[in-house]
């Protein structure tokens, strides 16, 4: 089947390459594609079609159509006509029930026509309703092409490279190459991208050639991702030259999908690139000079060409391809049969304008040439060659009018859409091209409309009697060609934030979990309650480096904070701390934390672990609005922080500071902030009590994290994780913003009516807080204890008269309290201390009682000790 050496062949006949196809040995030469090697060895049927399971063979041979989709090394839907051959590759046909040559489902082609017209599934299988799941299962199993290899575990290497170019030329045909060379004479930074194999390793002076590689589309700001197989180049170019050429368009006639009906370029590739004699007798139906030349090339290759028709000058009324077992055996031209095993047929060339349309070019129809051409290119883009319409024209692709009993005429081979289907859709009222596309699914298959859009528009125009210009095209959307998910995904990194003490927790065997953008220890052992007990009875330490930390400094720092928070800060003395809550302009609780005044014009603000970035941005935004003389500096990462808590906290700390008197009771009171050197590390120490025991939050330079942690642990502090911390704070009825509150919670109903200072002139959300104070209260957050020893789920519903009447936001079993405790939102009339209510737990309701104040150490004596 191979011809003698061809002048421009791509194959290296000295290098034989072996692979397996459908379980059998197969081979070709280096430079072959899997498709060309199979064709050369006599394979003609390459796939079975999507719906009718008709045999299909090579059609475009340029990686556009669906006819050669196979599974290669377990990767589904590979276009083997452009997939380079590789030794040992395992190539399998797909979507086949039986074999490529005998497919049991081909029966749908014989009987399916009348029973399965376009959209048949919308009109059938409706009743009885209980049968639908079964019908659906059958439908699902019939759909789809290749199979995903479930044993494949992914994690192949994909890289992304960010590139800049002065000139990016897409398309390496004559005009693309000329443009690239011309641009290169004016300086460096010229890149040429081409899909084909022919330019692989080509040298163009001053031009970087990427081939085979494919420009996937034009995205935001002229971003052009280029698929170079394993690497995605993201190009930004000062100028983008689109020279993507034109696409040959199939003719639409009965039997136009038979194996052996090919586009001229595909035939030419087989002869010129791979030195294959494609057939023995060919009929050529040409619509341009290129296709006529293919007739000559066929003859030179020893193929008999009994009939060549130039459709521009000798229009045929009717064309039909007749086949035997799915393969062309004759072309019937105006009723006269010509025996052949190859029909080379094309309606001409349509500019391949997608990239330009994506970039924003308008696309208009030129009736004289029967093509859509790009117009009004956006700035920075240039179009050259056939993509502009140069040398392009098509004859009307439809050659099947009046066919009643003949074979199907396919408008779209991907989706097996026939002319009858389109006619029927229009007759049913799907009478705009977009509706028709959605109904028939024409252009929605793997070729993305490259080979069917023009034909469907022209068929549509002819049937509805409007012009092609009125019909218009469907929107050109990226990607231009299918691209692997893995390549879009790029490398596998998902950056996580880790405190500078993090690896100590891992070394200690802590269970690590995500907490917002951070990785944090959940607990250090199997029993979080042991960690709780250590804090209550002795000493615990928790890594709270994740807290947001913000310095606010400047002559107007006080004014800024007074206006950002409902709280008052002007009356605070340096060295003191206050709890604060930020409200949105709608008066909703956004975040909470502590505010320490370090000096008259310097405040140290902490936020929740997930709130740091948002709060910083919030501060900066308002400061920009108001224009205060204050700086906002996010020092979250600069500082590590630990909370040392428990009855032994003072004693332990006193052993680590230079002067134990610095931490004596009177010298360091509850809600004091103080700078101290602890174990040789300068710290900002905050005496606060989130977990309910005597405690000190130490904030210090991150690089000293492990050192200070080690010293505290050496002093007998038990590391405790997030889970024990949640129990400890719940015992104090301290809320967690975002867990106990949601995006609609306000201060008053969250039980913090003492916090907003409404006498202040203004603060963010003041109007809304005042409004809430006036309106009828809807719900309130209160503590509760369970009547039984069961822990309701967080989110469990309070049931009032069988309906949801409130919800539990936190619940834990507390050893220290000796009960299951929690926080819940309840209707205001049920919030009196001691009121009984019911919570749904599993499939029953369990009683609970409202409890005001802290569950543990209600007077706060322990944390103030």
């Amino acid at each position: 089947m191979r011809l003698g050496p061809q002048p421009r062949e791509l194959i290296d006949r000295s290098q034989r390459v072996l692979f397996t196809f459908d379980g059998r040995a197969a081979g070709g030469y280096t430079g072959d594609t899997i498709g060309s090697a199979l064709y050369a060895s006599g394979q003609r049927v390459f796939s079975r079609s999507f719906k009718y399971h008709r045999p299909r063979g090579l059609l475009c041979c340029s990686g556009h159509c669906p006819n050669c989709l196979m599974t290669v090394d377990s990767v589904p839907n590979v276009r083997v006509c452009v997939e380079p051959i590789r030794a040992g590759a395992v190539v399998e046909p797909q979507n086949v029930w039986g074999s490529l040559d005998r497919d049991a489902l081909a029966v749908t082609d014989k009987i399916g026509g009348p029973f399965t017209p376009v959209g048949f599934y919308y009109r059938t299988m409706i009743r009885p309703r209980f049968m639908w799941p079964l019908y659906e299962k059958v439908l699902r199993n019939l759909a789809g092409l290749g199979k995903v290899d479930e044993r494949h575990h992914g994690h192949s290497r994909y890289d992304v490279e960010h590139r800049r170019a002065r000139v990016l030329v897409v398309g390496g045909g004559q005009s693309g190459r000329a443009a690239a060379l011309a641009a290169a004479t004016r300086g460096p930074g010229v890149v040429l991208v081409d899909e084909g194999m022919r330019l692989r390793g080509a040298e163009l002076e001053g031009v970087e050639v990427l081939a085979p590689a494919r420009a996937l589309g034009i995205w935001e700001g002229g971003l052009v991702p280029v698929d170079a197989g394993g690497v995605l180049y993201r190009f930004r170019a000062e100028r983008i030259v689109v020279a993507t050429g034109a696409l040959e368009q199939p003719l639409v006639f009965p039997g136009n999908d038979l194996v052996g009906v090919m586009l001229p370029d595909g035939v030419r590739r087989l002869i010129r690139d791979f030195a294959i004699r494609p057939a023995s007798r060919a009929v050529v139906l040409a619509s341009d000079d290129d296709a006529l030349e293919v007739a000559d090339e066929l003859r030179e290759a020893g193929v008999a060409v009994p009939r060549v028709v130039d459709l521009r000058t000798a229009p045929l009324g009717r064309i039909e391809a007749k086949g035997r077992r799915g393969r062309v055996s004759a072309a019937v031209l105006d009723g006269r049969a010509v025996e052949c095993d190859l029909v080379v047929a094309s309606a001409g060339r349509q500019p391949s304008y997608s990239l330009l349309a994506q970039a924003g070019a308008r696309v208009e129809y030129e009736p004289s040439r029967g093509i859509f051409v790009p117009a009004e290119l956006p700035a920075g883009f240039e179009a050259l060659g056939a993509v502009t319409g140069e040398g392009c024209a098509t004859v009307h692709p439809l050659r099947s009018s009046g066919a009643r009993n003949g074979d199907k005429s396919f408008v779209c081979v991907c989706e097996d859409v026939t002319t009858k289907d389109v006619d029927r859709a229009i007759a049913e009222g799907f009478d705009s091209i977009e509706l028709s596309k959605r109904y028939t699914t024409v252009t929605m298959g793997p070729c993305q409309g490259k080979l069917c859009q023009l034909a469907s528009i022209r068929l549509y125009a002819r049937t509805t009697g409007v012009s092609e210009a009125t019909v218009g095209t469907t929107t050109a959307r990226p990607p231009w060609a299918p691209v692997e998910l893995g390549l879009l995904a790029g490398p596998h990194h998902e950056p996580a934030r880790r405190s500078s003490i993090h690896f100590r927790h891992e070394e200690a065997g802590a269970t690590i979990q995500w907490a917002g953008p951070w990785k944090r220890p959940y607990a250090y052992g199997e029993h979080p309650e042991d960690e709780v007990r250590a804090v209550h009875e002795s000493l615990g330490v928790i890594d709270v480096s994740t807290l947001g930390k913000i310095l606010v400094e400047g002559p107007q720092a006080v004014e800024l904070l007074e206006r950002l928070y409902p709280n008052r800060f002007g009356d605070m003395k340096p060295g003191r701390i206050r709890y604060g809550v930020i409200t949105s302009d709608g008066g909703r609780i956004m975040d909470d934390g502590t505010i320490a005044r370090l000096a008259d014009d310097l405040f140290y603000v902490t936020t929740t672990s997930t709130g740091a970035d948002a709060v910083t941005a919030w501060f900066e935004w308002w400061n920009a609005v108001w224009g205060y003389d204050a700086e906002i500096v996010n020092v979250t990462g600069a500082l590590a922080a630990v909370n040392l808590a428990g009855p032994r906290a003072r004693e332990a700390l006193s052993r680590l500071v230079d002067d134990p008197d610095d931490v004596a009771g009177d010298a360091f009171r509850y809600l004091d902030a103080k700078e101290l050197d602890v174990a040789g590390v300068p710290c900002l120490a905050l005496r606060i009590g989130f977990v309910g025991e005597l405690g000190y939050e130490l904030h210090f330079a991150s690089p000293a994290g492990e050192h200070l942690w080690d010293r505290l642990v050496a002093e007998g502090a038990w590391p405790f994780g997030l889970e024990p911390q949640r129990v400890l704070r719940l015992e104090k009825a301290h809320i967690i913003v975002g867990q106990d509150t949601d995006s609609e919670s306000n201060l008053l109903s969250a039980g913090m009516s003492w916090l907003p200072k409404l006498e202040k002139d203004d603060f963010v959300g003041k109007l809304a807080v005042e409004h809430v104070a006036r309106r009828e209260e809807v719900e309130r957050l209160v503590g509760f204890t369970m009547e039984e020893d069961v822990v309701p789920a967080e989110g469990a519903q309070v049931v009032i008269e069988g309906r949801p009447g409130g919800r539990v936001t936190s619940a834990r079993r507390s050893e220290a309290v000796g009960a299951v405790i929690g926080l819940a939102w309840l209707p205001p009339e049920r919030c009196e201390d001691g009121t009984r209510f019911e919570i749904r737990v599993d499939r029953r309701t369990v009683g609970a009682r409202v409890r005001h104040g802290a569950f543990y150490d209600a007077s706060g004596a322990r944390m103030r000790a």
Partner: protein, 165 residues
């Protein structure tokens, strides 16, 4: 008046500080060096009033924001800059720093324009400050809490380039 000593790793006792990258870069190739713990100040105010000293490098992000990289003790530099009327904060502990070599390596990790540095922008999916030294040598600073993962991404990108033809 506080001097914000607690922000300064240089004020910690000898041997008590460590780089956030030391685990990730253990045994790393020569193209990657750890610059964490080298002094850097975050500046706020009229940056024009800041004078860079011997071996120091001033990076302006805006007329009122910048960084000062200093080979000396950043705590002392803070005092000096503040004396000049500009607010300064020791950011040494906030940033993980990497010295890298090779334009292609950088292109695998950032879409910043490498001819227009210094600049702030994404690097290995993290916000970074990127500077260029002579030739193809670069410095990258990222939040220290993300440094470990960024360093692993850099090493992975290097591995990818060595795999590439």
């Amino acid at each position: 008046m506080t001097e914000l000593r607690f922000l300064s790793p240089s004020q910690c006792a000898e041997g008590s500080t460590a780089s956030p990258l030391r685990r990730a870069l253990d045994g790393a190739p020569e193209q990657v060096r750890d610059l964490s713990l080298q002094g850097v100040l975050e500046l706020r105010g009229d940056i024009a009033r800041v004078e860079a000293g011997e071996g120091e490098e001033l990076v302006r992000l805006s007329p009122r924001r910048g960084f000062l990289f200093t080979p000396g003790d950043p705590f002392e530099a803070v005092a000096r800059v503040r004396a000049a009327g500009v607010l300064a904060y020791d950011s040494t502990g906030a940033l993980a720093g990497l010295a890298l070599e090779g334009e292609q390596l950088m292109r695998r990790l950032t879409d910043l324009e490498l001819t227009k540095l210094p600049a702030a922008g994404p690097f290995a999916r993290v916000s970074a400050l990127v500077l260029r030294d002579e030739g193809e040598r670069f410095r990258v600073y990222v939040p220290q809490e993300l440094g470990h993962d960024v360093a692993l991404a850099v090493l992975d990108a290097l591995a990818g380039l060595e795999l590439a033809p």
